[in-house]
Amino acid sequence: MSEAVNNSGEQKRIYGKPVSVKDNNFHFCAGCNHGHAHKLIGEAIDEFGIQDRTIGVAGVGCGVFLYNYLDIDVLEAPHGRACAEATGLNRVHPDKIIFTYQGDGDLAAIGMSETVHTANRGENITVIFINNIVYGMTGGQMAPTTLLGQKTTTTPYGREFGNDGYPIKMSEMLATLEGAAYVARVACNTPKNYLKAKKCVKKAFEMQINKMGFSFVEILSACPTNWGMNTQQAYRHIDEQMIPYFPLGVFKERTTADYL
């Protein structure tokens, strides 16, 4: 917690933990960006004052323990199905704020169908997609986003397109769908990137509050444990290896709620 002193000498709080983030210690490994992602969501919830009407849907993977860290109602979804659960919740509670929190295996492999069709329906939900190019919880297997040449426990010689295909660019793909209202890719590996990420996560929730349709933020994240790196190396890896293939930016931003 930082405190600043203003001209009259009074101390004023200018930075703190979001109210909607619980005091529990994260179980995440050192250098993992899940903690940052949780905080970004908590900050957005606080800023819009929507804590008491937000329902999170946790995908299966390292992010499944969302409910241990965010002080909101949470539904745990089967692996890959979070967007379908969010659809059910959203149709029952169109005035609540519904978001899913999903990793790359969950969202882009087993849950690809649910993700694409939920975006295509323009479902008024927000999806926070943690892309760390590996299966974290199960111990470092190849993800659909694993980079070519990357060694994982199931690509011990490196991902090779002839056998394993190419890493999927989810943001670019979803941005082609009419139902997608907002699609952005961000990272948390530098203060500058983190501040941009904060803007984009906030924007995604704002789109939902304004009933613009499906909003999606892909967060490039470090998994030092499964990458076999320390935090500094992992953050550099995001800059040097991930961002060149998964460029940061806003791929789509609908400005009116009108559909075609």
């Binding site: 109602d73 979804a77 379908a84 659809t87 919740l89």
Partner: protein, 352 residues
């Protein structure tokens, strides 16, 4: 009350509306397409939501999401579609959420065909998906019951916070019979937030809530499985249903459910004309199974013929439940083969 000629599948759909179901998520598959088509037309008229999902996998997970939000919600499907839903049904049971699955069977395995069958009895009555759980399973034998048992399925799913299946077949789905139907009731207070305090509405005015099926701490999952088990025992005590037909003076008992029980009734009429005193026990809940009724009746009537449209699935439940001195015979017709009343009469004469 009006007396309306209705298709069985439509009766399921109308039953759902009468039960206060305002959310339907499904995917087309023969022979149940009248259910989604009816609801696509009728749900918007009562302020409800119909979504044609991208798959049965998505359908059942949308059901799970809507159920978590406190809604009465339904999907419907058949064979391959219900197989795809089994993961989600297991999660519904594991998350202790209510939801109704209308299952209009087609012959299998594989793509099979669209002919009527009772080959999914085994799948439906043993839980169907992974893990130590069961679904409530109701087996209508008429269009009237397609309507009334669908309503009952919603009530039981809510009572136990457990998925409930209505298991029918293409005969029941496609045939028309008169149904007594009153005006559609308003959505009642069972959907009020205070009555569904377990549901997710956002944490306004209360602590944050969680609906999950993951238990990792030592002993947690064992405790949870015993809690589910206690629920299934309660179902067995309080909500096991069956019907008897001409059992009072019977010397020979047929056990059959659904369409097969209708054929058995016709056979019993023929048999009685020839002096054979035959009665029928028809399970209405196939889970929980009317074990007590089978035990008691088979003690008094120790010759039991099970008639079913599969290679012999329910016969195992009958054998487990029957009195130890009773003889249990099987007349099985799988793969869309339909027993005629004369076929069944022949079996009665063979074992009487």
């Amino acid at each position: 009350m009006a007396r309306i000629m209705m298709k069985g599948n439509e009766a399921i759909a109308e039953g759902a509306i009468h039960a206060g179901c305002r959310f339907y998520f499904g995917y087309p598959i023969t022979p149940q397409n009248d259910v989604p088509e009816y609801l696509a037309r009728e749900l918007p008229k009562v302020g409800g939501t119909f979504i044609q999902a991208e798959s049965e996998v998505a359908s059942i997970n949308m059901v799970l999401g809507a159920a978590a939000g406190g809604a009465r919600v339904m999907t419907s499907s058949s064979g391959p579609g219900v197989s795809l839903m089994q993961e989600g049904i297991s999660y519904l049971a594991g998350s202790e959420l209510p939801g109704v699955i209308a299952y209009v069977s087609r012959v299998g395995p594989g793509l099979g065909g669209i002919a009527p069958t009772q080959g999914d009895y085994k799948q439906v009555t043993t839980g169907g998906g992974h893990g130590d759980y069961y679904t409530i399973a109701l087996a209508p034998a008429s269009v009237e019951e397609m309507f009334s048992l669908t309503i009952k399925a919603f009530e039981l799913a809510d009572k136990y916070r457990n998925p409930a299946v209505v298991l029918a077949d293409a005969i029941l789905g496609q045939m028309k019979e008169p149904v007594e139907i009153g005006p559609r009731p308003e959505v009642k207070e069972y959907l009020a937030e205070e009555k569904r305090s377990w549901a997710l509405y956002g944490n306004k005015g209360r602590e944050s809530q969680l609906i999950k099926s993951l238990y990792l701490a030592d002993g947690e999952m064992e405790d949870f499985n015993w809690r589910l088990d206690a629920k299934y025992k309660k179902m067995k005590e309080q909500d096991t249903y069956h019907e008897e037909f001409q059992t009072d003076d019977a010397e020979f008992l047929i056990v059959a459910f659904g369409s097969a029980s209708r054929m058995a009734q016709s056979a019993i009429d023929l048999a009685r004309e020839e002096g054979y005193r035959v009665g029928l026990l028809r399970p209405i809940t196939i889970y929980p199974y009317p074990e007590k009724a089978v035990a008691e009746l088979s003690k008094r009537i120790p010759k039991v013929l099970v008639v079913e449209m599969n290679t012999g699935q329910m016969v195992k439940d009958v054998k487990v439940s029957a009195d130890r001195d009773a003889e249990v015979f099987l007349y099985a017709r799988p793969g869309g083969g339909l027993p005629t009343p004369d076929d069944i009469l022949e079996q009665i004469k063979k074992y009487y």
